[in-house]
């Protein structure tokens, strides 16, 4: 920064204070929220931060006028936060900002209308971003990162200020989504439950009335939770909703949604087109889809093996692993089709040793007992209609629709 004179610094600080008080008194949200959005590094805020570094006695300015001093609780820590933010000490910046936010919530509670909701949303966002950065700073200096956790509990407080009634409730979903982000990042997903319950039960407000961006985010995260629970129909519904309403231009978001939606769709028997995977760069699913199409168990296993880390981290590994049964089903179906071509009258009897042989070709070493068990499971889970005759070691297929399609229903478990 170029050198700034004392007068200039004074001028800028005063301007900031004026903007703030003007925005509050005129209920100008757009102006107000810009004064809090420091993580996007707006030039004005940065220059104020510089001015604060030069003009040490900013707090005196706040106290000088009633116009400012009534917001001293908000402004004093905000200045401190700005200063620290500019100097790169993010932990300090976060702590000061949380004080500001706390004071702002007090004010917000007192305001009848929800005019400042957007400003509050900015604050909530800043809280999360600052906490994440502060944690990075903490962990790089060997300390335990705890600010994000603190931000989580602070946001719960904000949520409490919004969840009640009236127009302020509009902001509740935004806070919820920020909480989701925090919880998913921290791995404390179980904490989502209380927030979800509050959103889904207290239906003073129709869900559809929430802002679309919040709805999409909310559906994305709740869909992911359903994936963890292996509740595929619900996950499908939520993720599909998110995909449908997601801004088509934000491809990154679409990709994130597809990352979970594809495994969900696969497990209810719906395979994606190849172009979709290419378009959104989800090639790790390519081989999985191929394997399901061909009944190629080996390919499926190797695809899982190759991307094991990724799948484990995103949490879809177990979902994909369960696709094996579908691969077996496909394999048996292929055998059945071939037999049918050879001898339609005996096609519905698939000998166990044939399946064992087919698996051998796939270099999968399973003995008769194990294959018999797999076949029993296939029948048990209704992936194959028919029965198994133990004496003759033959899978007797139903003559009608021996391989029922899932058609959007999950595999019986």
């Amino acid at each position: 920064m170029a050198y700034m004179s004392m007068g200039e610094a004074h001028r800028r600080i005063t301007e900031f204070l004026n903007r703030f008080s003007d925005a509050v008194f005129s209920q100008d949200v757009a102006s107000l929220k810009s004064l809090f959005a420091l993580s996007s590094n707006p030039p004005f805020l940065l220059s104020v931060a510089d001015a604060l570094n030069i003009f040490q006695d900013a707090n005196r300015l706040i106290k000088q006028s009633d116009k400012y001093s009534q917001f001293g609780e908000i402004l004093v820590p905000l200045f401190r936060s700005l200063q620290n933010y500019k100097q790169g000490s993010l932990v300090e910046a976060y702590q000061a900002f949380e004080k500001t936010a706390n004071a702002f919530i007090q004010e917000f509670r007192n305001w009848e209308s929800a005019w400042a909701l957007e400003a509050l949303c900015v604050i909530v966002y800043e809280i999360r971003i600052l906490a994440e950065r502060a944690d990075r700073e903490l962990s790089s200096s060997g300390k335990s990162p705890e600010k994000l956790k603190g931000a989580g509990s602070f946001l719960m407080k904000v949520f409490g200020a919004l969840a009640g009634k009236g127009s302020k409730r509009m902001g509740a979903l935004y806070v919820t989504c920020q909480l989701f982000k925090i919880y998913f990042k921290l791995g404390t997903v179980h904490l989502c439950r209380s927030v979800i319950r509050s959103i889904e039960t207290a239906r003073i407000f129709d869900f559809e009335e929430f802002p679309k961006r919040d709805k999409v985010t909310y559906m994305y995260y709740t869909g992911r939770l359903e994936v963890f629970n292996e509740n595929f129909p619900a996950a499908d519904t939520k993720l599909s909703y998110a995909l449908k309403h997601c801004n088509p231009k934000s491809e990154a978001n679409i990709r994130m949604i597809l990352k979970y939606l594809i495994p969900v769709k696969l497990s209810i028997g719906i395979l994606p087109k190849d172009w979709l995977l290419e378009r959104y760069n989800l090639l790790e699913y390519n081989n999985v889809v191929q394997a399901l199409r061909r009944g190629d168990l080996r390919l499926l296993r190797s695809a899982l093996q190759d991307h094991e880390d990724r799948f484990l981290r995103s949490g879809v590994y177990l979902v994909l692993e369960k696709l094996e049964l579908q691969a077996y089903q496909r394999l048996v179906k292929k055998i059945y089709i071939i037999q049918k071509q050879k001898d339609p009258s005996k096609a519905h009897q698939v000998k166990l040793e044939v399946i064992v042989k087919a698996l051998k070709w796939l270099e999968i070493d399973m003995d008769v007992d194990e294959v018999e068990c797999i076949m029993a499971i296939l029948i048990y889970k209704n992936l194959v209609k028919g029965y198994f005759a133990h004496k003759s070691k033959v899978v007797v297929l139903s003559k009608q629709d021996p391989f029922p399609k899932l058609n959007g229903k999950p595999v019986n478990s």
Binding site: Y317, Y380, F388
Partner: protein, 1000 residues
């Protein structure tokens, strides 16, 4: 009770006479009275201590005691006790505490001022406090509370206290009975409780020695089996320890033994307690008033507290009756013949001795002590308890001895602690003097008493290092030189003895010279030693069989030792008496006896000696490191301080560091703390840290949460290999914490033990606890947790396993080597099979390193996971049979579920039938693959049974082979209720198991 009441009321006057008489009696045969009372009191005290030790909380108990004064102490001893104390005593206990404190404060400051009263009182207080803590408090508790409430609460420790109370009441009664000692003795044998008192009394009157023996015997008899065992142990301990005690503080040792005896006696007493309680009830009131006055005036207030405590104790005792017995039995077994135990017993003895000293006065003045003693008692009791803790294993044995010894010791201690005071002095003077002279050079050195506390502490430390009498003697010689030199240089008081490095251990040969002197003491010591060892055995060793044998030995030893003990005690008493100025009149005798006693310092010295003895004992037992010793010393200091809270100490303290000033400022608290520390003589640094922190807190806030627990890191001194697990409710007592070497042995012992899981689990938990409190995190820690985890897996104790596993994970991440992979596999299996949480599973899987994924066990676990998630029962049961390590055991817990799922699946997919032989083979009933042999037939049978019990329909085909009718079965399958299911879900917690495990 009437006696008690009178005593209490008269406390000052009557007490004095009694105490005097008692003391005298002790000294001579007349003393029997005093002895008996004192013994009873001491016993009671010792009981409490013992009981506490037995409880395992021992170390804690002292601390707690200290903190809470008497009531707390009790509570400390048992977690329950504390609560009970609170409940019981809320009134009493609380009142007691303050009173105690007051008494203490008054003592230190006014102990002298009281002069007569103070002397008597102080003596009383001291003795009372000690005894009162145990006995009185117990009686009081019984009285006020009538024992019932209290009993439940503090049953464990109280048992000891109860016994004490019982003994008190009995003692009081005995007072009348005293004359009929013979009867009592007889009765003792016949009647455990009454017998005790009687026996002790009788023995006392006749001969101190006899008393001792009688006491021990009585205790034993009362204890019946337990006592018998204890007696045996005692004897052994005595023998072993005799030397030590002699050298150091024989009297203390006796006291400890006595304490142990008392404990043992108390155990039997429980039944008696009711009777006691009633008597107590009467006395209590009287006591209470007295004590209260004491608190204000010193004696009276303290009396009440004591009474209160007594009540608690009673409750404890009553409850404890059972527990104590158990404990005793346990201790006896372990104590037997354990060399390690001996050291422990030493420590304990020393501790006891120390405590005893403080208690000593109490013993004499049991009633009075109880009242006033609260403060003192609390300290003494604490000490005792600590000692007891130390001795816990040996306690039973010691208990008997201790009870006797305690009385004596108490007297001594009381004199010393109280400082004093004449009554004690007078009583014990004759013997004490002799003892003193003959006794420890160190003690003699110290006794002169004029030495600064720090020097005492130093001496104690030095003595604590000694592993045997010879060393003790040598150390004493060296120290004498040092002190003489210091005196000549004029640095005696200026030198910071606390900081002074210990001189190198002199050759034991050197010591031998002194040993002759000590030999007399040694005789007593051996008894003590024996008693500790007995205790140790009783606690830890599950060898009830030894009891009979031990008993005979013990009896002989006891008799032998008893004489020694008496002497020792007397000596101590004398010293104490001398110390206790208040005892003046009585002290006169003592004073004459005790050259040292003239001043308060003598008392201190005695205390120090006792402490030192305790230290020595501990050191002997543990051969603890210097640091331990130092720690002990520091602990001793506080304890000593606590004991000495008497005026003398105060003065000294004032002159000393700011610390002390702070303590003084918060005397009551400080006293408590100190008491705690003292109780924990072995507490070592921790105790001192506690004291410091407390002091600091006192100064500022007292917030327990602010204590820097790291600073309280304990260095264990316990040598017991076996130790029962007891959840800590206060700062651990180094005396009951085993150092790493011992823990290693303990682990080995557990690993090689043939006992059941409950026993091993208990032992391992106590090992884990000791590791934790000492902040030991190394390969041993990993081994312990791994061992425990494996055992838990073997028996399917998942909660315990999970505890170990979570600890192991952090230990492994700290880079400590162990069977990392093995446990990674267990962890996986656990998550897969038992938590059913996908997120956890994903987390565990994603954390596996590539290296881990190549490990056999981990691969197996992952394969199991795959089999489970896909429902592949064939793969599951193949893996089940090929499982490495203990994976099988974890899978075992899932087998039932897997089989049920599998049968469900088969019934749905197979038509028309499945041979049972196939089911049996696939579901892991048969061990071999389709091979038809006898085993297979059994497996078939088992499989068929299993299928039937789950609602499957079986039919026979033409060949007579069993077939599963899948269609018929598919709708009728169900999971039968577990036949061996227990309402609370854990068959391991069956009542019978609990009962069966108690004797462990």
């Amino acid at each position: 009770m009437a006696n008690q009441g009178s005593n209490t009321e008269t406390l000052a006057p009557p007490v004095v006479p009694r105490s005097l008489e008692n003391q005298h009696l002790d000294g001579s045969q007349e003393q029997p009275y005093s002895y008996t009372p004192s013994t009873t009191g001491s016993q009671a005290v010792s009981w409490t201590a013992h009981s506490s030790t037995e409880n395992g909380v021992y170390s804690n108990p002292p601390y707690q005691y200290d903190q809470h004064t008497q009531p707390p102490p009790r509570s400390f001893q048992d977690g329950q006790n504390t609560s009970s104390v609170a409940g019981n005593s809320s009134n009493l206990g609380t009142a007691n505490v303050p009173q105690d404190y007051n008494a203490y404060t008054s003592y230190p400051s006014s102990s002298n001022p009281y002069g007569y009263g103070s002397a008597g009182y102080s003596g009383y207080y001291n003795s009372y406090q000690q005894q009162p803590n145990h006995t009185y408090s117990q009686p009081v508790g019984a009285y006020q509370n009538t024992g019932a409430p209290y009993q439940p609460l503090s049953s464990f420790q109280n048992t000891g206290s109860y016994a004490a109370s019982a003994s008190y009441s009995s003692t009081y009664y005995n007072a009348g009975d005293y004359q009929t000692p013979g009867d009592y003795q007889n009765s003792n044998y016949g009647n455990q409780t009454t017998l005790w008192n009687n026996g002790t009394y009788s023995s006392y009157p006749s001969n101190p020695y006899a008393n001792y023996t009688v006491d021990s015997t009585s205790a034993y008899s009362s204890g019946t089996s337990g006592t018998g065992a204890t007696s045996m142990e005692y004897q052994q301990h005595y023998k072993q320890w005799a030397d030590y005690y002699r050298q150091t503080e024989v009297s203390c040792a006796p006291g400890t033994e006595n304490l142990s005896v008392t404990s043992s006696s108390t155990c039997p007493i429980p039944p008696v307690t009711s009777g006691y309680t009633t008597p107590n009830s009467e006395p209590q009131p009287a006591y209470a008033p007295f004590w209260r006055p004491d608190s204000s005036s010193s004696t009276i207030p303290s009396m009440q507290p004591g009474a209160i405590t007594g009540v608690v104790h009673d409750g404890y005792w009553k409850h404890g009756g059972q527990s104590s017995q158990i404990h005793h039995t346990n201790p006896i077994q372990p104590n037997y013949q354990n060399p390690l135990d001996l050291p422990c017993s030493y420590d304990r003895f020393q501790d006891q001795q120390k405590t005893l000293p403080s208690h000593g006065p109490n013993l004499q003045y049991p009633p009075a002590h109880q009242v006033t003693p609260p403060p003192l008692q609390s300290t003494p009791s604490l000490d005792m308890r600590r000692v007891s803790k130390m001795q816990i294993p040996t306690n039973p044995r010691i208990a008997s001895n201790l009870t006797f010894g305690l009385p004596k010791t108490n007297r001594d201690s009381s004199t010393t602690s109280v400082s004093p005071k004449p009554a004690y002095i007078s009583v014990s003077l004759p013997k004490p003097t002799e003892k003193v002279s003959s006794n420890d050079a160190a003690s003699s050195i110290i006794k002169p008493g004029m030495f600064p506390k720090s020097l005492r502490g130093y001496v104690e430390k030095a003595l604590a290092r000694c592993k045997d009498d010879k060393q003790m003697a040598a150390c004493q010689a060296v120290m004498k030189e040092m002190i003489t030199k210091a005196t000549a240089d004029g640095t005696l008081y200026t030198q910071n003895w606390d900081m002074e490095p210990l001189f190198p251990m002199p050759d034991s040969d050197m010591v031998n010279k002194d040993s002759s002197q000590c030999s007399t003491h040694d005789s007593s010591l051996p008894k003590y030693k024996r008693s500790p060892s007995r205790r140790a055995r009783s606690r830890w060793e599950p060898l009830p069989d030894e009891k009979p044998v031990d008993k005979p030995v013990l009896t002989s030893d006891d008799t032998m030792k008893s004489s020694g003990w008496v002497q020792n005690e007397d000596r101590k008493v004398v010293g104490e008496k001398e110390e206790s100025k208040e005892d003046g009149s009585r002290n006169t005798k003592f004073s004459s006896l005790l050259q040292r006693t003239s001043s308060k310092t003598p008392q201190r010295t005695f205390k120090k000696q006792r402490l030192a003895d305790a230290l020595v004992a501990s050191e002997n037992g543990d051969a603890s490191s210097d640091s331990d010793k130092e720690a002990n010393l520091t602990a001793y200091y506080p304890s000593a301080m606590a004991f000495v809270d008497s005026p003398e100490e105060r003065k000294r303290r004032e002159n000393r560091s700011k610390r002390f000033e702070l303590r003084q400022g918060h005397r009551a608290e400080n006293n408590h703390f100190r008491q705690n520390a003292g109780a924990g003589n072995l507490y070592s640094r921790r105790a001192s840290a506690m004291v410091l922190s407390k002091n600091i807190e006192d100064g500022s806030d007292r917030a327990v949460e602010d204590i820097d627990w790291d600073a309280l890191r304990v260095k264990g001194t316990c040598q017991e290999i076996e130790k029962r697990y007891l959840r800590l409710t206060s700062a651990p007592d180094p005396a009951t914490v085993r150092p790493e070497e011992v823990l290693e042995k303990a682990l080995l012992m557990v690993q090689n033990s043939q006992k059941n899981y409950l026993y091993k689990c208990d032992q391992l938990k106590s090992i884990r606890q000791d590791l934790t409190v000492q902040h030991i995190r190394n390969q041993l820690t990993v081994k312990v947790y791994e061992t425990h985890a494996r055992l838990a897996i073997e028996v399917g104790d998942l909660p315990e396993y999970n505890q170990c596993q979570s600890q192991l994970i952090t230990l492994y991440t700290e880079g400590i080597e162990g069977s990392h992979m093995e446990f990674a596999a267990y962890n996986l299996l656990c998550v897969i099979l038992h938590s059913n949480n996908n997120r956890d599973l994903l987390l565990s899987m994603s954390r596996l390193s590539d290296e881990a994924k190549k490990d056999e066990a981990v691969k197996h676990a992952l394969a199991v996971r795959a089999a489970v998630t896909s429902g592949n029962y064939v793969a599951f049961f193949r893996l089940y049979k090929a499982a490495p390590n203990l994976n099988t055991c974890l899978m075992d817990l899932y087998v039932e579920k897997m089989r049920y799922k599998a049968v469900n699946c088969m019934c749905r997919s197979y038509r028309p039938t499945v041979p049972v032989s196939y089911v049996s083979q696939v579901l892991g009933f048969s061990t071999t693959n389709r091979s038809s042999n006898e085993k297979d037939a059994d497996a078939l049978e088992e499989c068929a049974e299993w299928l039937k019990s789950h609602g499957a329909h079986l039919i026979a085909d033409n060949n007579g082979d069993m077939l599963l009718d899948t269609k018929a079965s598919s709708s009728t399958l169900y999971i039968p209720e577990q036949e061996d299911a227990v309402a609370h879900g854990d068959a391991n917690l069956a009542v019978n198991d609990f009962l069966a495990r108690a004797p462990l």
